[in-house]
Symmetry: C2
Subunit: 479 residues, 2 copies
């Protein structure tokens, strides 16, 4: 106890800074206001209050952006008020985008922790000393953002953390072979001084990445871990409904013996892929001589070209970094042996943009269901219209959905801008891409009330009773 606690406690009880109740009673504070049975609880998530500054600069008028190469996802995200440009290659992620990013991070957490990954968080400031040891201080050239602190010590802003994580593991005395494999990952902001940032979140200078590092006792075990992570990646993209291709890749400046990329096929992709027309062979074109057309695996198929956005990358590193930083473990004979490493990246902000790129229309965002910032948007009738009194039913519907379907809590937005026509608000809803838009109009006032439901991912419109609606939305998966 601090020496002056009695004095402070006396003070705290006397003043109104803290309520006069015991500390244990603090647990009673409700995180979110408890629901009541009152039928007329006003909706809280109002479109009029969402910070969606879509009236920012027109993209065409912004001189900086007009100099940059743009793409569909970038235009749609700017238009819908999800991002706003800052410095070249840097963006503000606005509230609706943050919701989606946080969902993506949760899915990544589930998949990484599902294979035993443990989440840590490493500093962005990495000492030059560490990077010089691996020789990447020079190798990275002008892609590395460098700075000097007040004591004239050199640092870089880490674009990746092989040096940092290996030195961490090397510092631990007596890691036993029984504790391996060790899978450590983080989801943090990374920095890379791209010569030409472009395509919005697809190629930026400051971005979010998930990077995992594995430590194994043998080459064989390390290959098993490598496959385990690749499967987790496939499952992740599968859950998101994104059809990725896993291709052989170059190991680049990360180094190592084996590498694969997870590529999302897209016209604006910067990577050229070679896919065999006959077998499962797939490779990044940079791993092969450019004029090759015969498949090296089955020898009979012809290679066809495709373009892709790299959304994930895996590397089998072997002892490249463990040797430099002396990251060892104690084997069965209690002798120190260098660990076999792998590293595995996922571009978090890039996956978000790439998903929007491949699933959206030219006019509006379409989300992988799990990543939709909000699942449902409810449109009450226009103020002063004949069906105006249905507004109460619309408000009630928000409450019913959130109470009946716990997965939809916080996922139902109410478009209270009733001075606007349904048509105008539908256009906004289409632009933002809520998977389900519910129009509460004259059908809701009939003896057997019906709601108009637009499923934006399929483009279908159906008219459902409240029970039908609950059935449909009960199947929505959220994260």
């Amino acid at each position: 106890m601090n020496q002056f606690w009695p004095r402070v406690l006396q003070y705290l009880h006397r003043t109104s800074v803290l309520p006069r109740r015991s500390l244990s009673a603090c647990a009673d504070h409700p995180a979110v206001p408890a629901s009541t049975n009152s039928r007329h609880i006003k909706p809280k998530l109002l479109v009029s209050r969402l910070y969606l500054p879509s009236t920012l600069h027109d993209v065409g008028q912004d001189t900086r952006l007009s100099r940059e190469m743009t793409c569909k996802s970038q235009r749609l995200m700017l238009k819908a008020g999800l991002i706003h440009p800052s410095n070249p290659g840097c963006y503000y992620y606005l509230p609706v985008a943050v919701r989606s990013m946080e969902k993506l991070m949760r899915v990544i957490d589930q998949e990484m922790q599902g294979i035993g990954g443990q989440k840590l968080d490493m500093p962005s400031l990495c000492s030059a000393e560490l990077w010089k040891k691996s020789e990447r201080w020079d190798l990275m050239g002008s892609e590395l953002l460098r700075l000097t602190d007040r004591h004239n010590i050199d640092y870089c802003l880490a674009p990746t953390h092989e040096e940092a994580v290996t030195t961490l593991v090397a510092h631990q005395a007596n890691v036993s072979y029984k504790q391996l494999p060790l899978l450590l990952y983080q989801i943090t902001r990374k920095f890379r001084d791209e010569p030409k940032p472009k395509f919005g979140l697809l190629r930026g200078r400051e971005f979010y990445m998930k990077d995992m590092y594995s430590f194994d006792a043998s080459e064989e075990a390390a290959y098993e871990t490598y496959e385990l992570v690749c499967h987790a990646y496939t499952r992740l993209f599968d859950r998101l409904g994104l059809r990725c291709v896993k291709v052989q890749a170059d190991t680049g400046n990360i180094g190592g013996k084996l590498s694969h990329e997870f590529q999302l096929p897209a016209d604006i992709g910067e990577d050229v892929l070679l896919l065999c027309g006959n077998c499962s062979f797939a490779a990044n074109a940079e791993t092969m001589s450019s004029d090759r057309t015969e498949c090296p695996q089955c020898k009979t198929g012809t290679l066809v070209k495709s373009k892709g956005i790299e959304v994930g990358h895996t590397f089998y590193l072997g002892q490249k970094y463990s040797r430099i930083f002396d990251a060892t473990f104690s084997n069965v004979q209690n002798k120190p042996v260098l660990t076999e490493m792998g590293c595995y990246g996922l571009g978090v902000t890039r996956i978000l943009a790439a998903a929007i790129e491949v699933t959206s229309t030219e006019e509006g965002i379409r989300w992988p269901g799990l990543l939709a910032p909000y699942q449902v948007c409810i449109l009450p009738p226009k103020k002063g219209s004949k069906e105006h009194k249905a507004v109460d039913l619309a408000e009630e519907l928000v409450h019913t959905l959130e109470e009946t379907l716990p997965g939809l809590r916080g996922e139902v937005v109410f478009d209270d801008r009733t001075q606007m026509t349904i048509g105008k608000r539908l256009m906004d809803a289409s632009r933002l891409g809520y998977p389900y838009v519910i129009v509460v109009g004259k059908g809701a006032l009939k003896e057997s009330p019906k709601f108009e439901v637009i499923c934006q991912q399929t483009g279908e419109t159906v008219f459902l009773t409240k029970d039908g609606l609950l059935d449909l939305l009960g199947g929505v998966e959220t994260v």
Copy 2:
């Protein structure tokens, strides 16, 4: 659709990269393995597998740390394997600390969103141009970490984001008075080139901070918002069981008219507080002449000195930044008017360390309940002991707790290091500070089985039946 989709789809269906099922079926993938009714599900959260490198350097032997000023929270966090030093003032946050940090961030999200805060995420790289406009480029001196990109453009690593957020809001055309107050916040890593980093996470160079910015239509409305945020802070600390003092503070280089700090009384606190012995007056000593002893509010009380750790800071900014960046809104007459601003910080990593500092013993961490990385640790008997067969009961207990009490899912750790005595494992559990430690020993094998439960926050030990245990743990609040 991309031009080459048909080709790619054909490829994907032929190869084994993706399972042959429809995209809509992706939603069936279970996020977390579903529970079954089998009694013998092996526990998954094993202490032997937790990355808790407490066998890192002994603090005393580390030359860098021995040069630095240390404190209790830092020693305890190092010893328990929660953090590991990187560069001066920079730490690795290890997995158990990350769990706690994420809990704290969720509580902060709840409280900030509870008062209408919307979460965004701003770049760490801030252009010198922006900071020169506010004159803080020079004012911040050597505390600001600066760098130059490949095009020789100057940037800083933002320690705070008044410039960035105000320019964002200024870019939006036609913000209506109806849309105010606007409360935008983020929880991100911040940078400050501290001359002498010390006390672990209490004074670092890279740390997590929650920063919120408010935009209001009038001075009156802005003061209301200021009070609203202060109340949310008080509620937050109250939920954490931390007894903060709200004191008048200096506005420093942030500027503005009014400022308060939320101080957590502690011996190692670097701030000196003056508290009135008679009324509610409280101030940071730097706001007053040092020899003052009479309370300026009630004029009769005497000011007493106390030390505190600053964990939160609020500023009423007025038009200081909105004027510089021309952040306006349209008033009732549709005329542009400068917004009235406030800004509000919470040191996320600092709160974590400060909480450990004030609630722990010299030997072990004691957590504010909500922030405990894991709520429960179950200790099965030692291998080869007389009561060894109780190990099955211990495993079963993990399963029962997680199934019966949904709030405890992922919160129950199983100490499978049965080669160690109960006593040794209890010492580790005490060091890490799980709020509830359950020893499954010979009492569990009796006809009416009892479990030994150690409530580490109170130091009490009780013997409970399974039902009693469920009752006790059913009251544990998690976030």
